[in-house]
Amino acid sequence: MMITATFLLVLFVVTLTVAAYSTYGERKVAAFLQDRIGPNRAGPFGLLQPLADGAKMFMKEDFVPATANRKLFFMGPAIAMITALLTGVVIPWGGTLTIGEHTFDLQGTDPEIGILYVFAMVSIGVYGIMLGGWASNNKFALLGAIRAASQMVSYELAMGLSIVGLVMMTGTLSLSGIVEYQAAHGWGIIQQPLGFLIFIVCAFAECNRAPFDMPECETELVGGYHTEFSSMKLGFYLFAEYINMFMSSAVIATLYFGGYHVPGLASLGLDPNLVTIIGVAAMFAKTFFFIFFFMWVRWSIPRFRFDQLMNLGWKRLIPLAILNIVVTGGLYYIINGF
């Protein structure tokens, strides 16, 4: 009990730190891609920039519009933040550590429906944006909220279908089970390349990241769903987006890139604890690569139009995902028999 609580606390702090430094990373990556220097004033290489930004967010006036629905205006950012943080509980960050007689699992909990839990949290997360946007009583915020809702509901379908192939092969919904399968049979990206492609496109849409950031499209909607939010409420929305990005990177790494598995490490005969620590480092390296990938795409590809987004989701990705299921099933039958 105490161990799990401690682990979750550590996970909470690590998540917030990663999210904070993702904001710094985003600006540095943008600067790099646009041939600029980026933030370099606060501390060496601008490393204290996230702290300065955080302090600024807390110090600003917390303004609530007179016509807003105050309760929901408060609840919106809270829901966005809570659901973003809850996802990390089921992700296996590493194997097991053995200290003395005790063994510690580097995973908050391992329910047998781990991946469905992730989807459930993602599907609740949309309420944060919807309620916040509606409660602002501003047409731009409402349009942003409606865009977010229709986008997330549409892409949830393709996302759910895209992993069915992987689940058929691994025979489990548990995230640690999927990692163990990949350690034994090769990574998911090799076995499910099409599923991976669909999943990552949907992950971009679910995180409201460019090129699918229509809910906060500033050229059309001022600030989108968070137009009326200021101070730390705005901070929570922005922060929740970075946490979502971190979590979806971790889920992509877990499902398709072997999670904490490092090929060939098991045959070296190292100490199990050392293997676990290398595994955790590998997991974070893979996750950070995908966070970088999210930023890379954001600063390279222009924003879609909303009808293009809907066409892509419903007319391209869902049929492709169903094709992936059929092909996977057929190949599985040919190779393994019943």
Partner: protein, 187 residues
């Protein structure tokens, strides 16, 4: 565990009552979301994790989002709600009261339900749900999928725009149909 059950049950009942008593439709929807989440909590207490998660994904994550979506788009509020006539109100109170009386009479002596089988904690896990769906209940399962397919086809039919012929816009003097360029110029 028992206290947890009472807590979740209380949340379910209170949120369900809020759904019908709330004046603002958005508050009503939020109460319904809370009610669905607490029902998922009941599933978890019964060790039916699969059902709990599917319940959250389908009801909370998809259906309620669409409810909220429609209410936001229509911008319903208290002023727009039609007032019921006196006759309707009296009839509603009478029928509700009679239903309550019937319930009270039925439950006056208390009810005791004995479980047919001992509770099996494994019954709600993915494996057993899948096994019973694809062996014992295969036919109903497949038939329900036909139901969903027909619903989908129906929606596509309704959403499809019918092609209707509209007479071309003609120039008032020459009676010739306007070109696209001229149409643009007219606005």
């Amino acid at each position: 565990m028992l206290y947890l059950f009472y807590l979740i049950a209380a949340i379910s009942v209170i949120s369900a009552l809020t759904v019908v008593s709330a004046k603002n439709p958005v508050n009503s929807v939020i109460a319904l979301i809370l009610c669905f989440l607490s029902i998922a909590g009941h599933y978890v207490l019964l060790n039916a994790q699969f059902l709990a998660m599917v319940h959250i994904i389908v009801y909370t994550g998809a259906i309620m989002v669409l409810f909220l979506f429609v209410i936001m788009l229509l911008n319903l509020n208290r002023a727009a709600e039609p007032m019921k006539t006196l006759g309707t109100r009296v009839a509603a109170v009478l029928s509700g009261g009679l239903f309550f009386l019937t319930l009270l009479a039925a439950l006056r002596n208390g009810i005791s339900v004995t479980a047919a089988n001992a509770f099996d904690p494994g019954v709600g896990l993915v494996h057993s749900v899948g096994m019973s769906l694809f062996s014992e209940f295969l036919l109903p399962f497949e038939i329900s999928s036909v139901l969903f397919l027909s619903a989908m086809v129906g929606v596509v039919m309704l959403a499809k725009k019918e092609k209707t012929w509209t007479p071309p816009v003609r120039n008032a003097f020459t009676e010739k149909p306007l070109t696209e360029h001229e149409l643009d110029a007219e606005g």
